[in-house]
């Protein structure tokens, strides 16, 4: 849902951009066209534009009142310099809270020069920095009022996302080595250089801006956002978090859903493939024991094997050790064997070994087909497995003989 909401936001931005572009186009034509014929030739353009405006106008009446993004004041906050900031929570078209926003306007003083730092800042529902946008009238600048480059913005965003940055514990002045002076054309004097060993923690030439913005983004506001989100917490919001693509939200929700509740099992299994970073490994841990013995769930999980990474495949194989699989589960495992690495095949055949007595003829045949696999480890293990079955696998003895012949 979150993804679709964001997309909707982008579309709305596009509407606005089309509207503005269209108006500009119309005005320019009107200003420079000299005669009626030209006007008439342009009328098709104008008609198209007017149709667009009218449809957009009606859409805003028909759709937006019921399915629009909206924001509402979440709380007021104060920076350490006692600057008041308004923090809003933004809802998507489905009326789900999706992020927080604040227009930051705060003084920054460095080397005796003060200026206002302006930025539109966005956080996720747990106070983690998402993004900022510059205020066009007052873009971010570095030493000597040089504007931020794209790389500087990327660096700043990387810094702001790092909650464990050393900026948390360093005073801005302690980041600057006054022994190394840089001449400034603007402040009519000199400024210190960032200590080499600490320079990675700030945007080069923007120590004080980096420091100030980091503390606003990751300071008390971040904690207040968590508190505000928790005040809105509901089962629906937890599910929204589980379904998000945000590691922090997924992890938070995972830790807040009750264990052993069947209704969450599909979400937990979903996280095995959709979870960000390490979330799948915490999700797999939270899957209740009964799931691993349930034929229905086993089948779903085994069928995920080919999508999963190496470590998660091992987690699944480890958890299926000594478990009885239904026929379709057995088949799913057999048909996924080609996806496994050499070291995992033994684990998989161990699972099949425990199910030896329950293997259907069809599944034994599928295993026999693996004798032809290009993966010699797999064909060898399949051979050993079938040989160990003797009676049950007698009907594939011809294939076994062929395999022996090589």
């Amino acid at each position: 849902m979150k993804v679709s909401a964001l997309k909707f936001l982008e579309i709305e931005d596009h509407y606005l951009q089309y509207l503005i572009k269209g108006m500009r186009y119309f005005m320019s034509k009107a200003r420079f066209s000299k005669n009626l014929i030209t006007y008439w030739r342009q009328w098709s353009d104008i008609r198209f534009f007017l149709m667009f405006v009218i449809s957009w106008f009606f859409m805003s009446f028909l759709v937006l009142p019921t399915r629009s993004i909206r924001k509402e004041r979440a709380f007021m906050a104060y920076t350490k310099d006692s600057v008041q900031l308004k923090v809003d929570v933004i809802y998507n078209v489905d009326n789900e809270p999706i992020k927080y926003y604040s227009y930051v306007d705060t003084p920054v003083c460095e080397e005796g020069v003060c200026y206002n730092l302006l930025a539109e800042v966005y956080w996720d529902l747990l106070g983690n920095f998402i993004d900022y946008k510059e205020v066009s009238s007052d873009p971010l600048t570095k030493f000597d009022h040089i504007r931020f480059t794209k790389e500087d913005h990327d660096k700043m965003k990387e810094i702001l996302k790092d909650k464990t940055s050393l900026l948390a514990s360093y005073k801005a002045k302690d980041l600057v080595d006054q022994r190394i002076q840089i001449k400034s054309d603007v402040i009519d004097g000199v400024a210190g250089a960032t200590y080499k060993s600490l320079s990675g923690a700030v945007v080069r030439g923007a120590v004080y801006s980096s420091h100030t913005l980091w503390h606003i983004v990751n300071g008390k506001i971040a904690d207040s956002i968590v508190a505000h989100t928790e005040s809105m917490m509901s089962d629906k919001l937890l599910v929204q978090m589980l379904n998000s693509d945000n590691y922090n939200l997924q992890f938070y929700a995972l830790n807040h859903i009750p264990s052993n509740e069947e209704r969450y099992v599909p979400y937990l299994i979903g996280l095995l493939t959709k979870g960000a970073s390490y979330v799948p490994f915490f999700a797999v841990e939270k899957i209740p024991d009964h799931v691993w013995t349930s034929n229905k769930h086993q089948l779903v999980i085994i069928n995920l094997l080919e999508e999963l990474n190496f470590e998660m495949q091992n987690e699944i194989l480890n958890r299926l050790q000594n478990k009885i699989l239904a026929e379709d589960g057995q088949f799913a495992l057999i048909s996924n064997l080609e996806e496994l690495k050499e070291s995992q095949l033994k684990k998989a055949f161990n699972i099949l070994d425990k199910n030896k007595a329950l293997l259907s003829k069809k599944n034994i045949e599928y295993i026999a087909n693996l004798l032809e696999s290009q993966n010699s480890e797999l064909s060898n293990l399949a051979y050993q497995f079938l040989v160990s079955m003797q009676k049950e696998a007698a009907f594939v003895s011809k294939k076994l003989k062929e395999y022996r012949k090589g």
Binding site: S169, L175, D177, Y195, L198, F281, F282, N318, S343
Partner: protein, 643 residues
């Protein structure tokens, strides 16, 4: 007022012998009970009739050092080399503490800054020796390099397997301590003028009633941003290490039943990339009494260790571990934190981060503010450490190295007077080693001058003298330069066969004996590829000298330390450091004299002292004929004395 704790009664060792007068024993052996009672020549049969298992031995010395880890070793060597009689007691058979073969943690410190700040002094002597004498990288060899250094000092009496268990405090000062050696069934009763607590746990300080801190202070206490919001009794945990070897066949592993079970999620913040050496994050104990609950903690740590090895071997996530098997398994958890003794000054976060330049600085640190959350392997969902890099080295004041309320008690190691946050940086062993050298030298200074550590710490004239002694003995002190008026080299004219642009000959008497990050080399450099190079000191009038001290380059911008971890050697050069002058001779000229005074071959040390019969010289020439590989002959400092 005399204060004794009740240990003696508890183990039934009370004796009238304690009432006897002090026995002066500076030798290697104390005087035993029977000798005190006038039976110094016992028949062999009588000895065996002794019905008490434990024999009491009495010692009196200048300095008692409790703890033979890196701090205690450096303290003992420094104090002994400065003329004091030292007894070092160590509760293990091996020396080195956390750095010993029993624990196998590598010695870390200011090299972590990736600058030029590897620690010098006694530690440098030890690691240079180890790098040359131990190419096989054997931890046991390292133990014996430490052992060799200690027993080679005449002023040191080393009592191994000897654990301190009691202290007597008279009029506020520690008078003597009791220590027990189980294998020899001896009780050592040691009187001393100064006592150094290098136990790590501040056992001596606690037993003597010194004020100490434990746990984590709140942010509000000293305004430390890295501190916890609410104070608690939690600490960083202990770690148990292992080593493993690769074989040429599969080495299956079955863990003991009591091993913990781990899955992939437990390694979100804990990286397993190599197998030859265990992981510092096998850590536990921060949430219990890190001293008192040690037995249980070791048990839990072993369950963690085997659990992690089981994960490596059997989870399937590390198929390349198939041929690996455990080789050595630690039984002594390495401690990061326990008690911190309150000194005249308590170092805090600000002192480390802002690098306060203390007037009474006697050492420096450079490890990041590297705090470990107390949960350790009980809380694998959390990061195992929070490390805040430092901008550069910071100074450590002497006032943090002696007890505030026990005047003759000093400390070096993790138990010094620091906040929990500051400890997260000062705790590492290279820093602890320099603290050891600092207090060893300071105790010898106090012993000579007949003053207490608090007088030394609060008197700038004394402190300046101590700093000059430390500097002369290669302890690096930030911003302290050679002002030793007895150093005759300072009054000489220096010339050389050749010199590089930034390595002029006069650098050897510029007051600095190392690079300090000011853009200058502070050393003489001459290209030896063009032939032998010489450096000459000449005086207007002849001077009498009987000591020459040379400081060479040993590549302080690199790491140099023993480790069981292969990658730790990536930035190291083992063996002789290439920058160091290997072969040289010193020629002197004077009235009716022109001779080769001495020569030295295969040198690998940074600081070399030459003592000889007094000679009156007009000039001396240091002729360098070989380095350990560097095309430049490099000398940081030359000092000359007549003492």
């Amino acid at each position: 007022m005399t204060k004794r704790r009740g240990f003696m009664k508890t183990i039934g060792l009370g004796s009238s012998a304690f009432l006897m007068g002090p026995i002066t024993v500076f030798g290697k052996d104390g005087i035993n009970d029977m000798e005190l009672l006038g039976k110094s020549h016992l028949e062999a049969s009588e000895k065996f009739l002794d019905d008490e298992a434990y024999v009491k031995k009495y010692y009196e010395t200048d300095i008692l050092i409790a703890g033979g880890g890196m701090s205690g070793i450096c303290a003992a060597l420094a104090a002994a080399r400065n003329g004091s009689k030292v007894i070092l007691i160590q509760d293990r058979s091996r020396l080195g503490g956390n750095a010993s073969s029993e624990i196998r943690m590598h010695i870390s410190g200011a090299s972590q800054l990736n600058q030029i700040w590897r620690e010098t002094g006694i530690l440098e002597e030890l690691v240079l020796t180890e790098a040359v004498d131990n190419p096989q990288r054997s931890y046991e060899m390292w133990d014996f390099i430490l052992y060799d250094k200690l027993i080679s000092e005449e002023n040191i009496t080393l009592l191994l397997d000897t654990a301190l268990y009691d202290a007597e405090v008279v009029d506020g000062n520690i008078k003597r301590i009791w220590a027990l050696c189980s294998p020899t069934e001896e009780i050592s009763i040691i009187s001393a003028k100064f006592f150094a607590d290098c136990t790590g746990d501040a056992t001596l300080a606690a037993q003597a009633g010194a004020n100490y801190m434990r746990g984590r202070e709140a942010k509000s206490k000293w305004g430390e941003s890295l501190a916890v919001d609410v104070e608690d009794q939690k600490t960083m945990g202990n770690s148990l290490l292992f080593t493993a070897k690769k074989y040429d066949k599969a080495m299956p592993y079955t863990p003991p039943k009591w091993a913990r079970k781990y899955t992939t999620k437990d390694f979100l913040h804990r990286n397993i990339s190599t197998y030859e050496y265990g992981y510092w994050w096998l850590e536990l104990g921060g949430e219990i009494d890190i001293v008192r609950d040690g037995q249980q903690n070791r048990k839990d740590l072993l369950a963690v260790l085997f659990g992690v090895w089981d994960y490596i071997k059997n989870s399937g996530n590390h198929p390349d571990s198939e041929n690996w098997a455990l080789d050595s398994i630690g039984m002594i958890p390495g401690k990061r934190e326990s008690r911190r003794v309150v000194g005249d000054y308590i170092m805090k976060q600000e002192d480390v981060q802002a690098a306060t330049l203390f007037e009474d600085r006697v050492a420096y640190g450079g490890w990041p503010l590297d705090d470990h959350p107390p949960g350790g392997m009980d809380t694998t969902g959390e990061v195992p450490y929070v490390s805040i890099p430092l901008k550069g080295p910071y100074s450590i004041p002497f006032r943090s190295l002696y007890s505030k309320n026990i005047p003759n008690l000093l400390m070096a190691g993790r138990n010094i007077s620091v906040s929990h946050v500051a400890l997260s940086s000062t705790r590492v062993m290279a820093t602890c080693s320099t603290l050891g050298q600092a207090i060893g030298t300071a105790m010898a200074y106090c012993n000579k001058k007949g003053i207490l550590p608090s007088v030394l710490g609060n008197n700038s004239a004394h402190m300046k003298q101590l700093q000059q002694v430390l500097l002369r003995q290669d302890q690096s002190l930030l911003g302290v330069v050679n002002e030793d008026s007895n150093d005759l080299a300072r009054y000489a004219k220096v010339t050389a066969s050749s010199e590089t642009k930034d390595g002029v000959a006069a650098n050897v008497i510029d007051g600095y004996n190392r690079e300090v990050g000011d853009g200058l080399t502070h050393k003489w450099c001459a290209n030896i590829e063009n032939g032998d190079q010489w450096l000459m000191l000449s005086w207007k009038k002849p001077v009498k000298i009987n000591k020459i001290q040379l400081t060479f380059d040993t590549g302080l911008d690199r790491f140099l330390r023993l480790s069981a971890q292969d990658w730790v050697y990536d930035n190291q050069i083992r063996g002789q450091q290439p920058e160091t002058v290997a072969d040289y001779s010193i020629e002197v000229k004077g009235k009716n004299m022109d001779q080769v005074l001495l020569s030295n071959e295969n040198n690998y040390l940074r600081l070399v002292n030459h003592s000889f019969e007094s000679v009156e010289v007009k000039s001396l020439k240091i002729k360098v004929t070989r380095t350990n590989g560097d095309p430049l002959a490099k000398i940081f400092e030359v000092r000359c004395y007549h003492e």
